[in-house]
Amino acid sequence: MPLKRTGLQTIELPLRPAVCASAAFVGKKEGEGPLGALFDHVAQDELYGQDTFELAEKRLYLDAIRKAILKGGLKPENVQFLLGGDLLNQIITASFSARELGIPFIGLYGACSTMAESLCLGGMLLDGEHASTVVCAASSHFCTAERQYRYPLEFGAQRPPTAQWTVTGAGAAVLSLAPSVPPQAHVVRVCMGRVVDLGVTDANNMGAAMAPAAADTLLALMADTHTRPADYDLIVTGDLGQVGRDLLLQLMREQRMPLEERLHRDCGLMIYDRERQDAHAGGSGCGCSASVLCASLLPALQRGELRRIIFMATGALMSVTSSQQGETIPGIAHAVVLESPKP
Protein backbone atom coordinates (compact mmCIF):
# COMPACT_ATOMS: atom_id res chain seq x y z
CA MET A 1 0.00 0.00 0.00
CA PRO A 2 1.51 3.32 -0.99
CA LEU A 3 2.10 5.63 1.93
CA LYS A 4 1.03 9.25 1.63
CA ARG A 5 4.57 10.35 2.25
CA THR A 6 7.20 12.22 0.27
CA GLY A 7 10.81 11.96 1.32
CA LEU A 8 11.80 11.76 4.96
CA GLN A 9 9.41 14.06 6.77
CA THR A 10 6.75 15.35 4.40
CA ILE A 11 3.19 14.05 4.39
CA GLU A 12 0.98 14.52 1.34
CA LEU A 13 -2.71 15.33 1.77
CA PRO A 14 -4.18 14.40 -1.66
CA LEU A 15 -7.75 15.11 -0.49
CA ARG A 16 -6.65 18.76 -0.02
CA PRO A 17 -8.59 19.51 3.19
CA ALA A 18 -10.05 23.01 3.08
CA VAL A 19 -9.65 25.70 5.69
CA CYS A 20 -13.26 26.81 5.49
CA ALA A 21 -13.26 29.56 8.09
CA SER A 22 -11.05 31.17 10.70
CA ALA A 23 -11.22 33.80 13.42
CA ALA A 24 -8.74 35.78 15.50
CA PHE A 25 -9.44 37.50 18.82
CA VAL A 26 -6.65 39.63 20.26
CA GLY A 27 -5.76 42.11 23.00
CA LYS A 28 -5.48 45.90 22.90
CA LYS A 29 -1.79 46.15 22.04
CA GLU A 30 -2.22 43.78 19.08
CA GLY A 31 -5.29 45.77 18.01
CA GLU A 32 -3.12 48.89 17.92
CA GLY A 33 -0.55 47.16 15.70
CA PRO A 34 -0.28 47.19 11.90
CA LEU A 35 -2.80 44.32 11.55
CA GLY A 36 -5.31 45.85 13.99
CA ALA A 37 -8.15 46.27 11.52
CA LEU A 38 -8.00 42.64 10.38
CA PHE A 39 -8.85 40.90 13.65
CA ASP A 40 -12.39 39.72 14.35
CA HIS A 41 -12.34 41.33 17.76
CA VAL A 42 -9.99 43.43 19.87
CA ALA A 43 -10.45 43.10 23.64
CA GLN A 44 -10.15 46.52 25.24
CA ASP A 45 -8.44 45.42 28.45
CA GLU A 46 -6.28 42.56 29.66
CA LEU A 47 -9.00 40.95 31.79
CA TYR A 48 -11.59 40.88 28.97
CA GLY A 49 -14.44 41.06 31.49
CA GLN A 50 -13.14 38.13 33.55
CA ASP A 51 -11.81 37.78 37.11
CA THR A 52 -8.37 36.44 36.22
CA PHE A 53 -5.96 36.63 33.28
CA GLU A 54 -6.26 32.85 32.82
CA LEU A 55 -10.03 33.16 32.41
CA ALA A 56 -9.50 36.07 30.01
CA GLU A 57 -7.25 33.91 27.84
CA LYS A 58 -9.81 31.11 27.91
CA ARG A 59 -12.52 33.53 26.80
CA LEU A 60 -10.38 34.71 23.88
CA TYR A 61 -9.83 31.07 22.93
CA LEU A 62 -13.50 30.13 23.19
CA ASP A 63 -14.69 33.24 21.36
CA ALA A 64 -12.27 32.62 18.48
CA ILE A 65 -13.38 28.99 18.13
CA ARG A 66 -17.09 29.83 18.31
CA LYS A 67 -16.68 32.62 15.78
CA ALA A 68 -14.73 30.40 13.38
CA ILE A 69 -17.34 27.64 13.63
CA LEU A 70 -20.10 30.19 13.02
CA LYS A 71 -18.29 31.67 10.00
CA GLY A 72 -17.95 28.13 8.62
CA GLY A 73 -21.73 27.79 8.69
CA LEU A 74 -21.47 25.09 11.36
CA LYS A 75 -22.39 24.32 14.96
CA PRO A 76 -20.06 22.83 17.60
CA GLU A 77 -21.85 19.47 17.28
CA ASN A 78 -20.81 19.31 13.60
CA VAL A 79 -17.14 19.39 14.62
CA GLN A 80 -15.55 16.02 15.30
CA PHE A 81 -12.26 17.07 16.84
CA LEU A 82 -10.85 20.11 18.55
CA LEU A 83 -7.07 20.14 18.28
CA GLY A 84 -5.23 22.79 20.17
CA GLY A 85 -3.09 24.06 22.96
CA ASP A 86 -1.57 27.07 24.64
CA LEU A 87 1.44 28.00 26.75
CA LEU A 88 0.09 27.48 30.25
CA ASN A 89 1.01 24.57 32.50
CA GLN A 90 -1.14 21.53 31.61
CA ILE A 91 -2.59 23.56 28.69
CA ILE A 92 -5.51 24.70 30.81
CA THR A 93 -6.75 27.28 28.31
CA ALA A 94 -7.38 24.65 25.65
CA SER A 95 -8.77 21.96 27.92
CA PHE A 96 -11.01 24.32 29.88
CA SER A 97 -12.37 25.64 26.58
CA ALA A 98 -12.97 22.08 25.39
CA ARG A 99 -14.95 21.47 28.59
CA GLU A 100 -17.42 24.12 27.49
CA LEU A 101 -17.60 23.16 23.83
CA GLY A 102 -18.24 19.44 24.22
CA ILE A 103 -16.15 18.61 21.12
CA PRO A 104 -13.81 15.56 21.36
CA PHE A 105 -10.51 17.15 22.31
CA ILE A 106 -6.90 16.45 21.38
CA GLY A 107 -4.70 18.64 23.57
CA LEU A 108 -1.38 19.63 22.04
CA TYR A 109 1.74 21.26 23.37
CA GLY A 110 4.29 22.49 20.87
CA ALA A 111 5.07 25.78 22.64
CA CYS A 112 4.69 28.54 20.04
CA SER A 113 4.53 25.99 17.20
CA THR A 114 1.14 24.73 18.38
CA MET A 115 -0.97 26.31 15.62
CA ALA A 116 1.11 24.66 12.87
CA GLU A 117 1.17 21.40 14.83
CA SER A 118 -2.61 21.37 15.12
CA LEU A 119 -3.03 22.19 11.40
CA CYS A 120 -0.68 19.32 10.49
CA LEU A 121 -2.54 16.81 12.63
CA GLY A 122 -5.97 18.15 11.71
CA GLY A 123 -5.11 17.94 8.03
CA MET A 124 -3.96 14.34 8.47
CA LEU A 125 -7.10 13.36 10.38
CA LEU A 126 -9.19 14.70 7.50
CA ASP A 127 -7.06 13.23 4.77
CA GLY A 128 -7.21 9.86 6.53
CA GLU A 129 -10.99 10.27 6.52
CA HIS A 130 -11.13 9.87 10.26
CA ALA A 131 -13.10 13.09 10.46
CA SER A 132 -14.86 15.43 8.07
CA THR A 133 -14.59 18.62 10.14
CA VAL A 134 -12.05 19.64 12.78
CA VAL A 135 -11.12 22.87 14.55
CA CYS A 136 -7.49 23.86 15.14
CA ALA A 137 -6.75 26.56 17.70
CA ALA A 138 -3.99 28.12 19.77
CA SER A 139 -3.68 31.05 22.14
CA SER A 140 -1.39 32.99 24.43
CA HIS A 141 -1.82 35.92 26.80
CA PHE A 142 0.92 38.34 27.82
CA CYS A 143 -0.14 38.46 31.47
CA THR A 144 -0.54 34.69 31.99
CA ALA A 145 2.75 33.91 30.23
CA GLU A 146 4.63 36.63 32.10
CA ARG A 147 3.58 35.36 35.53
CA GLN A 148 4.30 31.74 34.62
CA TYR A 149 7.64 32.21 32.85
CA ARG A 150 9.04 35.49 34.15
CA TYR A 151 8.21 38.16 36.74
CA PRO A 152 5.10 39.72 38.26
CA LEU A 153 3.66 42.38 35.95
CA GLU A 154 4.38 45.32 38.27
CA PHE A 155 7.98 44.26 38.90
CA GLY A 156 10.24 46.88 37.31
CA ALA A 157 12.62 44.66 35.37
CA GLN A 158 14.40 45.65 32.17
CA ARG A 159 14.20 43.43 29.08
CA PRO A 160 17.14 43.02 26.72
CA PRO A 161 16.69 44.01 23.04
CA THR A 162 16.57 40.30 22.05
CA ALA A 163 13.52 39.61 24.25
CA GLN A 164 10.12 39.16 22.61
CA TRP A 165 6.67 40.27 23.69
CA THR A 166 4.07 37.52 24.25
CA VAL A 167 1.03 38.17 22.08
CA THR A 168 -2.37 38.32 23.73
CA GLY A 169 -4.56 36.57 21.23
CA ALA A 170 -6.20 33.42 19.98
CA GLY A 171 -6.69 32.06 16.49
CA ALA A 172 -8.98 29.24 15.38
CA ALA A 173 -9.36 27.62 11.97
CA VAL A 174 -12.06 25.19 10.86
CA LEU A 175 -10.82 22.49 8.49
CA SER A 176 -13.27 20.46 6.45
CA LEU A 177 -13.39 17.93 3.63
CA ALA A 178 -16.73 19.26 2.38
CA PRO A 179 -17.03 22.93 3.33
CA SER A 180 -20.43 24.55 3.08
CA VAL A 181 -18.87 27.99 2.59
CA PRO A 182 -16.24 29.11 0.03
CA PRO A 183 -12.91 27.85 1.43
CA GLN A 184 -10.09 30.18 2.45
CA ALA A 185 -7.28 27.81 1.53
CA HIS A 186 -6.32 24.18 1.08
CA VAL A 187 -3.80 22.24 3.16
CA VAL A 188 -1.88 20.29 0.53
CA ARG A 189 1.05 18.88 2.48
CA VAL A 190 2.61 19.15 5.89
CA CYS A 191 6.09 18.64 7.28
CA MET A 192 6.48 17.60 10.90
CA GLY A 193 9.66 18.97 12.40
CA ARG A 194 12.39 17.45 14.51
CA VAL A 195 13.62 18.81 17.81
CA VAL A 196 16.82 20.73 17.11
CA ASP A 197 19.15 22.25 19.69
CA LEU A 198 22.28 24.23 18.89
CA GLY A 199 23.03 25.04 22.49
CA VAL A 200 21.29 28.39 23.13
CA THR A 201 20.60 28.85 26.87
CA ASP A 202 19.38 32.46 26.95
CA ALA A 203 15.61 32.42 27.59
CA ASN A 204 15.61 36.09 26.56
CA ASN A 205 16.72 35.14 23.06
CA MET A 206 14.21 32.53 21.95
CA GLY A 207 14.42 33.54 18.31
CA ALA A 208 18.02 32.31 18.35
CA ALA A 209 16.95 29.06 20.02
CA MET A 210 14.25 28.39 17.39
CA ALA A 211 15.96 29.47 14.16
CA PRO A 212 17.93 26.19 13.71
CA ALA A 213 14.69 24.19 13.98
CA ALA A 214 13.08 26.44 11.37
CA ALA A 215 16.04 25.90 9.04
CA ASP A 216 15.94 22.14 9.64
CA THR A 217 12.25 21.77 8.81
CA LEU A 218 12.47 24.11 5.82
CA LEU A 219 15.44 22.20 4.41
CA ALA A 220 13.56 18.92 4.94
CA LEU A 221 10.49 20.21 3.10
CA MET A 222 12.60 21.59 0.23
CA ALA A 223 14.53 18.32 -0.12
CA ASP A 224 11.44 16.11 0.18
CA THR A 225 9.41 18.02 -2.39
CA HIS A 226 12.31 19.06 -4.68
CA THR A 227 11.28 22.70 -4.39
CA ARG A 228 13.14 25.91 -3.58
CA PRO A 229 11.98 28.94 -1.59
CA ALA A 230 11.25 30.80 -4.85
CA ASP A 231 8.55 28.21 -5.66
CA TYR A 232 6.40 29.76 -2.93
CA ASP A 233 4.82 33.21 -2.72
CA LEU A 234 5.82 33.52 0.90
CA ILE A 235 7.49 31.51 3.62
CA VAL A 236 6.00 32.67 6.91
CA THR A 237 7.58 31.74 10.22
CA GLY A 238 5.77 31.95 13.54
CA ASP A 239 7.64 34.05 16.05
CA LEU A 240 11.35 34.14 15.32
CA GLY A 241 11.46 37.89 15.82
CA GLN A 242 14.20 40.05 14.36
CA VAL A 243 17.15 38.07 15.76
CA GLY A 244 15.69 34.69 14.81
CA ARG A 245 14.81 35.91 11.34
CA ASP A 246 18.35 37.19 10.71
CA LEU A 247 19.75 33.89 11.98
CA LEU A 248 17.39 31.81 9.81
CA LEU A 249 18.34 33.77 6.68
CA GLN A 250 22.04 33.39 7.56
CA LEU A 251 21.69 29.64 8.24
CA MET A 252 19.88 29.12 4.93
CA ARG A 253 22.64 30.99 3.09
CA GLU A 254 25.23 28.79 4.76
CA GLN A 255 23.31 25.65 3.74
CA ARG A 256 23.29 26.85 0.09
CA MET A 257 19.48 27.08 0.02
CA PRO A 258 19.20 30.87 0.31
CA LEU A 259 15.88 32.24 1.49
CA GLU A 260 15.46 35.66 -0.06
CA GLU A 261 14.43 38.44 2.30
CA ARG A 262 11.42 39.41 0.18
CA LEU A 263 10.05 35.83 0.37
CA HIS A 264 10.19 35.67 4.13
CA ARG A 265 7.77 37.07 6.70
CA ASP A 266 7.64 36.47 10.42
CA CYS A 267 4.33 36.74 12.29
CA GLY A 268 6.23 38.15 15.29
CA LEU A 269 7.44 41.03 13.11
CA MET A 270 4.09 41.54 11.39
CA ILE A 271 1.91 41.90 14.48
CA TYR A 272 3.64 44.87 16.13
CA ASP A 273 5.24 48.09 15.03
CA ARG A 274 8.42 47.39 16.98
CA GLU A 275 9.60 50.98 17.26
CA ARG A 276 6.28 52.48 18.27
CA GLN A 277 4.99 49.60 20.40
CA ASP A 278 8.09 48.76 22.43
CA ALA A 279 8.00 45.09 21.41
CA HIS A 280 11.80 44.68 21.34
CA ALA A 281 12.65 41.80 18.93
CA GLY A 282 8.97 41.19 18.03
CA GLY A 283 5.94 39.21 19.15
CA SER A 284 5.93 35.61 20.39
CA GLY A 285 3.56 33.03 21.85
CA CYS A 286 1.13 30.52 20.35
CA GLY A 287 -1.36 33.32 19.79
CA CYS A 288 1.11 35.22 17.60
CA SER A 289 1.24 32.85 14.63
CA ALA A 290 -2.35 31.69 15.21
CA SER A 291 -3.88 35.17 15.08
CA VAL A 292 -1.72 36.40 12.18
CA LEU A 293 -2.55 33.28 10.17
CA CYS A 294 -6.28 33.61 10.78
CA ALA A 295 -6.51 37.39 10.38
CA SER A 296 -4.05 38.10 7.61
CA LEU A 297 -2.64 35.07 5.75
CA LEU A 298 -5.77 32.97 5.23
CA PRO A 299 -7.85 35.90 3.94
CA ALA A 300 -5.00 36.81 1.54
CA LEU A 301 -5.02 33.22 0.24
CA GLN A 302 -8.79 33.34 -0.12
CA ARG A 303 -8.58 36.53 -2.18
CA GLY A 304 -5.90 34.96 -4.34
CA GLU A 305 -3.26 37.59 -3.43
CA LEU A 306 -1.14 34.71 -2.21
CA ARG A 307 -1.22 31.48 -4.19
CA ARG A 308 1.00 29.13 -2.28
CA ILE A 309 2.67 29.69 1.05
CA ILE A 310 4.52 27.79 3.73
CA PHE A 311 3.21 28.51 7.21
CA MET A 312 5.88 27.35 9.62
CA ALA A 313 5.44 28.04 13.33
CA THR A 314 8.37 27.53 15.65
CA GLY A 315 8.43 26.62 19.33
CA ALA A 316 11.01 26.83 22.11
CA LEU A 317 10.53 23.72 24.21
CA MET A 318 12.01 24.80 27.52
CA SER A 319 10.39 25.17 30.93
CA VAL A 320 11.19 27.39 33.89
CA THR A 321 12.70 24.35 35.63
CA SER A 322 14.90 23.32 32.71
CA SER A 323 16.17 26.89 32.31
CA GLN A 324 16.98 27.15 36.03
CA GLN A 325 18.88 23.87 35.80
CA GLY A 326 21.00 25.35 33.01
CA GLU A 327 19.67 23.16 30.20
CA THR A 328 19.87 24.42 26.63
CA ILE A 329 16.66 25.34 24.77
CA PRO A 330 15.44 22.79 22.20
CA GLY A 331 13.50 24.22 19.28
CA ILE A 332 10.90 22.75 16.93
CA ALA A 333 9.19 23.88 13.74
CA HIS A 334 6.25 22.39 11.86
CA ALA A 335 5.41 23.48 8.33
CA VAL A 336 2.09 23.54 6.48
CA VAL A 337 1.85 24.18 2.73
CA LEU A 338 -1.29 26.20 2.03
CA GLU A 339 -2.69 26.92 -1.43
CA SER A 340 -5.26 29.43 -2.54
CA PRO A 341 -8.64 28.08 -3.74
CA LYS A 342 -8.36 30.54 -6.66
CA PRO A 343 -6.95 28.82 -9.77
Binding site: E154, F155, Q158, P161, T162, G199, D216, L219, L251, Q255
Partner: protein, 152 residues
Protein backbone atom coordinates in the same frame (compact mmCIF):
# COMPACT_ATOMS: atom_id res chain seq x y z
CA UNK B 1 17.98 9.81 8.69
CA UNK B 2 20.68 12.42 8.33
CA UNK B 3 20.85 13.57 11.92
CA UNK B 4 22.48 16.85 11.10
CA UNK B 5 20.70 18.54 8.28
CA UNK B 6 21.71 22.05 9.25
CA UNK B 7 25.45 21.64 8.81
CA UNK B 8 26.83 23.86 11.49
CA UNK B 9 28.14 23.41 15.01
CA UNK B 10 27.17 24.98 18.35
CA UNK B 11 30.41 27.02 18.49
CA UNK B 12 29.82 28.62 15.11
CA UNK B 13 26.13 29.15 15.88
CA UNK B 14 26.92 30.73 19.22
CA UNK B 15 29.30 33.14 17.45
CA UNK B 16 26.65 33.88 14.83
CA UNK B 17 24.02 34.54 17.52
CA UNK B 18 26.35 36.98 19.23
CA UNK B 19 26.96 38.81 15.95
CA UNK B 20 23.26 39.12 15.13
CA UNK B 21 21.87 39.90 18.60
CA UNK B 22 21.77 43.62 19.35
CA UNK B 23 23.45 44.43 22.70
CA UNK B 24 21.72 46.35 25.48
CA UNK B 25 22.48 50.07 25.05
CA UNK B 26 25.12 50.32 27.79
CA UNK B 27 25.91 54.05 27.65
CA UNK B 28 22.29 55.20 27.59
CA UNK B 29 21.39 52.68 30.31
CA UNK B 30 24.16 53.91 32.58
CA UNK B 31 23.15 57.53 32.03
CA UNK B 32 19.50 56.86 32.89
CA UNK B 33 20.39 54.77 35.94
CA UNK B 34 22.71 57.55 37.13
CA UNK B 35 20.28 60.42 36.99
CA UNK B 36 17.20 58.56 38.27
CA UNK B 37 19.18 56.77 41.00
CA UNK B 38 20.86 60.03 41.93
CA UNK B 39 17.52 61.84 42.09
CA UNK B 40 16.07 59.16 44.40
CA UNK B 41 19.10 59.55 46.66
CA UNK B 42 18.70 63.34 46.67
CA UNK B 43 15.07 62.86 47.63
CA UNK B 44 16.16 60.52 50.43
CA UNK B 45 18.67 63.07 51.69
CA UNK B 46 16.02 65.77 51.60
CA UNK B 47 13.68 63.63 53.70
CA UNK B 48 16.45 62.94 56.22
CA UNK B 49 17.40 66.63 56.44
CA UNK B 50 13.76 67.62 56.81
CA UNK B 51 13.46 65.15 59.70
CA UNK B 52 16.48 66.63 61.46
CA UNK B 53 15.66 70.30 60.90
CA UNK B 54 11.89 70.47 61.12
CA UNK B 55 10.79 67.41 63.07
CA UNK B 56 13.56 67.64 65.63
CA UNK B 57 14.81 64.08 65.01
CA UNK B 58 18.26 62.66 65.67
CA UNK B 59 20.21 61.22 62.70
CA UNK B 60 19.14 57.65 63.44
CA UNK B 61 15.43 58.45 63.55
CA UNK B 62 15.74 60.60 60.41
CA UNK B 63 17.35 57.70 58.54
CA UNK B 64 14.46 55.42 59.54
CA UNK B 65 12.03 58.08 58.39
CA UNK B 66 13.80 58.18 55.01
CA UNK B 67 13.58 54.40 54.50
CA UNK B 68 9.95 54.24 55.57
CA UNK B 69 8.96 57.12 53.29
CA UNK B 70 10.77 55.75 50.24
CA UNK B 71 9.37 52.24 50.78
CA UNK B 72 5.88 53.69 51.14
CA UNK B 73 6.21 55.80 48.01
CA UNK B 74 7.48 52.83 45.96
CA UNK B 75 4.71 50.56 47.23
CA UNK B 76 2.19 53.21 46.24
CA UNK B 77 3.74 53.72 42.80
CA UNK B 78 3.88 49.94 42.27
CA UNK B 79 0.23 49.63 43.22
CA UNK B 80 -0.89 52.29 40.77
CA UNK B 81 1.22 50.73 37.99
CA UNK B 82 3.89 53.41 37.61
CA UNK B 83 6.99 51.90 39.21
CA UNK B 84 7.44 49.13 36.64
CA UNK B 85 7.75 51.81 33.97
CA UNK B 86 10.33 53.66 36.04
CA UNK B 87 12.23 50.38 36.56
CA UNK B 88 12.13 49.68 32.85
CA UNK B 89 13.53 53.15 32.13
CA UNK B 90 16.15 53.45 34.85
CA UNK B 91 17.12 49.82 35.57
CA UNK B 92 19.48 49.60 38.55
CA UNK B 93 19.01 53.33 39.12
CA UNK B 94 15.56 52.64 40.52
CA UNK B 95 16.57 49.36 42.10
CA UNK B 96 19.73 49.85 44.09
CA UNK B 97 18.11 52.33 46.50
CA UNK B 98 15.64 50.75 48.94
CA UNK B 99 12.91 51.40 46.36
CA UNK B 100 13.86 48.19 44.51
CA UNK B 101 13.26 46.15 47.62
CA UNK B 102 9.81 47.62 48.11
CA UNK B 103 8.88 46.94 44.47
CA UNK B 104 10.16 43.35 44.74
CA UNK B 105 7.84 42.76 47.70
CA UNK B 106 4.72 44.55 46.50
CA UNK B 107 4.65 43.30 42.89
CA UNK B 108 4.34 39.55 43.75
CA UNK B 109 1.81 40.43 46.45
CA UNK B 110 -0.37 42.09 43.81
CA UNK B 111 0.27 39.44 41.17
CA UNK B 112 -0.50 36.34 43.22
CA UNK B 113 -3.39 37.70 45.30
CA UNK B 114 -5.79 35.81 43.00
CA UNK B 115 -4.32 32.47 44.06
CA UNK B 116 -5.43 33.16 47.65
CA UNK B 117 -4.02 34.86 50.74
CA UNK B 118 -2.02 31.85 51.96
CA UNK B 119 -0.88 29.82 48.96
CA UNK B 120 -0.81 32.81 46.62
CA UNK B 121 0.17 36.05 48.34
CA UNK B 122 1.75 34.39 51.39
CA UNK B 123 3.78 31.83 49.50
CA UNK B 124 4.92 34.12 46.69
CA UNK B 125 5.55 37.32 48.68
CA UNK B 126 9.29 36.65 49.00
CA UNK B 127 9.73 35.01 45.60
CA UNK B 128 11.88 37.89 44.29
CA UNK B 129 13.20 39.54 47.47
CA UNK B 130 13.76 36.16 49.18
CA UNK B 131 17.15 35.33 47.63
CA UNK B 132 18.43 38.84 48.41
CA UNK B 133 17.34 38.48 52.03
CA UNK B 134 18.80 34.97 52.39
CA UNK B 135 22.22 35.91 51.07
CA UNK B 136 22.20 39.45 52.47
CA UNK B 137 21.44 38.28 56.00
CA UNK B 138 23.69 35.23 55.55
CA UNK B 139 26.61 37.44 54.52
CA UNK B 140 26.05 39.84 57.42
CA UNK B 141 26.06 36.94 59.90
CA UNK B 142 29.31 35.65 58.41
CA UNK B 143 31.00 39.06 58.46
CA UNK B 144 29.76 39.63 62.00
CA UNK B 145 31.31 36.33 63.14
CA UNK B 146 34.63 37.15 61.51
CA UNK B 147 34.60 40.57 63.13
CA UNK B 148 33.75 39.13 66.56
CA UNK B 149 36.47 36.44 66.34
CA UNK B 150 39.38 38.44 64.95
CA UNK B 151 38.88 42.12 65.60
CA UNK B 152 37.19 42.33 68.93
Amino acid sequence: MDKQRVHTNPQHYSWLTEQLSPPSPLGAGLGRAFWVGGLICVLGQAIADAGVHWLDMNARAASSLTSITLVFLTALLTGVGVFDKLGKYAGAGSFVPITGFANAMVSPALEFRREGLVLGLGAKLFSIAGPVLVYGIGASVLVGMIYALFFH
